[in-house]
């Protein structure tokens, strides 16, 4: 139907049109961000002060890290509702280990060093993801259902571990050799809070994974057309499993950062944060059907949400109105995307109409 004409020079670098479209989608998130900053800068003198920008970015960082994991799942055409609970679970596990836990069958209390605590927490987060991934890829349970189930299971386990309490003894004891959790995770290298550094590292690392590794290409392919990917030899089930592991890993990291940030390990930590993560991914231009989306867009999406909510707090908008406005911004941002796509299509038609010559073809005996 669509024959691209033979003016083709096979080596021509004709990437621009593709990227331009992607830029437009991300561009709208960027425009939203600029508008938000401008509006709040006018409404509040404090909004643009560096200290405030850093505080807001620290809030953004947590959601952005979750959103990066969520992006991988969404690129695959799935969804991960369990990340908020996983944040709570990993935070609680970190707190539990730092507080010291009784070894079973002995009267001993173990105080693992901080690096062990961190590794165990990240591993637990990844494990939750692995369970999600296996449920989805092997048992073919719909991602929404599988991760909804894990949302409850993980939160329940967090509550069981703490018996509903909050752990606050996180600083460790030099004599037990388990100090450092707070001094590292809540530190501010070069004046920038630790979570922001983690966000930057995660963003760069996952960006590299998505754009430069075979796994990244496989992920876009399975999200775009999993049957075609499968017949091309792509290990679609492995890809599907690993995106949930990645998401769980990101949630584990956020669990640690949140615990250090509070500083307290609460079983309710991370509640509803999965929804913020999904919103960031979607505002960042990803398609929920899979196959389309970038880390850069997702980060911008996280900034839009974070800077908006914090701005509303600063100018003293009630929490009730905050909810309404946040919801409206999500819908508007994605709505603009749709309108934009329709307009692009229409302008393409307009352009084509001008180009079409009005001469009739040299049809043999056409017309009566």
């Amino acid at each position: 139907m669509t024959e691209t004409s033979a003016r083709a020079q096979p080596t021509a670098r004709t990437r621009k049109p593709v990227n331009l479209n992607a830029l437009l989608v991300e561009g709208r998130a960027l425009v939203a961000l600029v508008v938000i900053i401008a509006v709040f800068a006018v409404l509040s003198d404090n909004y643009l002060r560096p200290e405030n920008l850093i505080i807001m970015t620290r809030h953004v960082a947590m959601n952005a890290i979750l959103a990066i994991g969520m992006l991988l799942v969404i690129l695959n055409g799935g969804i991960d509702l369990s990340v908020g609970s996983t944040v709570g679970l990993t935070g609680v596990i970190a707190g539990y280990l730092l507080k010291g836990y009784e070894m079973p069958f002995t009267a001993l209390i173990a105080y693992p060093p901080v690096w062990v605590v961190i590794i165990v927490s990240l591993a637990i987060g990844s494990l939750v993801g692995l369970i999600n991934g296996l449920l989805v890829s092997r048992l073919k349970i719909a991602p929404f259902i599988a991760t909804l189930g894990m949302l409850y299971v993980a939160r329940g386990i967090a509550l069981l571990i703490t018996d509903g309490e909050t752990f606050t003894r996180l600083s460790g004891d030099p004599q037990l050799g388990n100090t450092g959790f707070l001094t590292v995770l809540a530190s501010q290298p070069l004046g920038i809070p630790f979570p922001i550094w983690v966000m930057v590292v995660f963003a760069l690392a996952f960006s590299l994974v998505l754009t430069r590794t075979a796994f990244g290409r496989w992920l876009y392919a399975t999200g775009g057309n999993s049957r075609a990917a499968e017949l091309s030899g792509v290990p679609v089930k492995k890809v599907q499993t690993w995106v949930y592991v990645a998401s769980g890993f990101c949630a584990g990291a956020v669990g640690l950062l949140l615990t250090a940030d509070l500083p307290a390990a609460t079983p309710q930590g991370g509640s509803l944060s999965e929804l913020n993560a999904i919103a960031a991914v979607v505002i960042g231009g990803a398609a929920l059907s899979g196959g389309r989306g970038t880390v850069r867009g997702t980060i911008i999406g996280a900034f839009v949400i974070g800077f908006l909510v914090d701005g509303l707090v600063i100018i003293g908008v009630s929490t009730f109105w905050q909810q309404v406005i946040k919801g409206a911004v999500i819908i508007i941002a994605v709505g603009i995307d749709q309108v934009q796509q329709m307009l692009t299509a229409r302008s393409a038609i307009k352009k084509a109409q001008v180009k079409t010559p009005l001469k009739t073809p040299e049809a043999v005996g056409a017309g009566a």
């Binding site: 691209t4 990437r15 030899g233």
Partner: protein
């Protein structure tokens, strides 16, 4: 011959998708009581024009005139209101709903109370089924019907609209010979009542049989037209391709190497049809350098065999050996690595990732070959992509162009090129020329025979006897899950192949197909 009044006219209609001009100012007429047949290769613009006539798409330029008055057809409902109905190439049915619900979908008949008048709908549906000589109850779920019957439901839906202009875009692709004859009776009946028919089919003989008036499209332009008198295959093909499109590989060398692929007594279960055997004890050997054609009707088990060989479906019993090594338990990826890959039947569903570029689609199966230190080397990848574009002659603006910007034939070349980039020793292709124009067909077979000369073993499925005869070293005929004949294309005949495929194991005499010869069971 009475010319019939012009009821619908397209004046200087053009259509552009992005940078591609699918129609370049076409003038086209539809006459009452006549069958106007559209010929043209894929991508010539036939379907685009039909979509414009039926309100699916809007023209980028030009306009439509209905009964002498300019009209704008904004939606398919507009078209139906104006008496224009279309039977689409792809089935647009809801498999979970009944035949009756599908026939009346979007135009439900209502009782006075405002509820759906099922009884009345049932009656009309039953009448339509009787007219199409199908014994299908109106409340049967469409999903339970075989493909050919589903296509008849699609046709019934258009008939129910009581249209004055009926557009049929490839209505017979899944129909058996006898069902086609019934459809033609219905068409003849409609034309005597003054209905204008627009008919598109890749089945040239069939289309010539039914035509009152023939129109040929090429590259988005109407290039030739004539009445039924003197209309023959030769004229159609010449007008379609603008040159003689002949390919004949019967004289290809026949000294083949060792057995590359050995299929031994393979059985495959059709899980969607309650454990029926889709493939029932098939044994085929394919040698290096050999091109073997697997011919059969739809539902003969060809696709199931191919998918099992590729590793997507399980082989229930029997063995598949690749150069003597059993492939049992190997994943699709492992099989591709060992040198056997499948070019699937449905390009859009199984072959391409529509969101990705031409280049990314080409390199998808061979990406691991371009890995340097964990990352995909842009240089290595681009080099192999550009080499392959050159090699399989993909017409594209470049590796970065969206895959959807290509014509069907070029998309198919990309799918084949993707598998060739994995350096296969055995290539499986399921209907590699489906929905592709004559010119591209020849190119694709040239490509396959070129690779065969270099030692590739090729096993491909086709439903076209002509292809089997002219483009293979050996023809294996399948029917009802079994191999029923092995024929030499140099000595066999059209009749012999077709009657073998009807499933009567002694392939003798009778070439007329009985209703029983239609594909059996679900062909999902």
């Amino acid at each position: 011959m009475n010319q019939g009044d012009v009821v619908l006219r397209a004046v200087d209609v053009s259509k552009t998708y992005g940078v591609t001009r699918a129609l370049k100012g076409v003038n086209f007429e539809v006459r009452a009581g006549k069958v106007t047949v559209l010929f043209g290769e894929n991508g010539a613009g036939k379907s685009t024009l039909m979509k414009i006539l039926s309100g699916v798409e809007q023209p980028s330029g030009g306009h439509l005139v209905l009964h002498g008055r300019p009209v704008e057809i904004r939606t398919t409902n507009d078209a139906v209101d104006l008496g224009i109905a279309i039977i689409h190439q792809e089935l647009n049915l809801a498999p979970n709903l009944s035949v009756r619900d599908n026939v009346f979908i979007g135009r439900e008949l209502l009782t006075r109370a405002g509820t759906v008048d099922r009884r009345c709908e049932d009656e009309i549906t039953a009448e339509l089924m009787a007219r199409l000589e199908e014994d299908i109850h109106p409340s049967t779920p469409v999903g339970d019907l075989r493909l050919g019957q589903q296509q008849l439901v699609e046709i019934a839906r258009a008939l129910a609209a009581d249209a004055r202009i009926l557009i049929m875009d490839e209505p017979t692709s899944a129909l058996s010979h006898s069902e086609v004859q019934v459809l033609f009776k219905v068409v003849a009946d409609l034309t005597t009542h003054g209905v204008a028919i627009v008919y598109i089919s890749h089945h040239l003989e069939e289309a010539i049989e039914i035509a009152d008036h023939a129109v040929v499209f090429r590259d988005g332009e109407l290039v030739a037209q004539r009445d039924a008198e003197g209309l023959d295959m030769d004229w159609v093909v010449r007008s379609m391709v603008g040159r003689a499109a002949e390919y004949d590989f019967r004289d290809e060398q026949r000294e083949h190497g060792d057995v590359a692929l050995s299929i031994q007594d393979v059985r495959v279960v059709d899980t969607s049809a309650g454990g029926r055997l889709a493939v029932d004890g098939v044994s085929i050997d394919v040698r290096a350098g050999e091109v073997v054609c697997l011919y059969g009707l739809m539902g003969a088990g060809r696709t199931e065999l191919m998918e099992a060989l590729s590793g997507r479906d399980q082989v229930a019993s029997g063995r598949v050996l690749l150069h003597g090594v059993d492939l049992k338990g190997r994943s699709i990826g492992e099989r591709i690595e060992r040198g056997i890959g499948l070019v699937p039947e449905d390009r859009q569903r199984d072959g391409l990732v529509q969101l990705m570029s031409v280049g990314a689609n080409l390199s998808l199966a061979s990406l691991l070959g371009s890995i340097k230190r964990l990352l995909v080397s842009k240089k290595a990848e681009t080099a192999s992509i550009e080499r392959e574009i050159e090699d399989v002659k993909v017409k594209t603006a470049g590796p970065g162009a969206p895959i959807t910007s290509l014509s069907g034939g070029n998309q198919q070349k990309v799918v084949i090129g993707k598998m060739l980039l994995t350096d296969p020793t055995v290539l499986l292709l399921d209907e590699p020329t489906r929905g592709i124009d004559v010119g591209a067909k020849g190119e694709i077979f040239s490509l396959l025979f070129r690779e065969a000369r270099r030692g590739l073993a090729v096993l491909y499925v086709t439903s076209e006897v002509g292809e089997a005869l002219t483009a293979s070293h050996r023809i294996v005929v399948m029917a009802k899950g079994k191999v029923v004949a092995e024929l030499d294309p140099r000595t066999t005949t059209r009749q012999e192949i077709m009657s073998a495929s009807e499933g009567t194991v002694e392939a003798s005499g009778s070439t007329t197909s009985s209703p029983d010869s239609s594909p059996i069971g679900a062909t999902s």
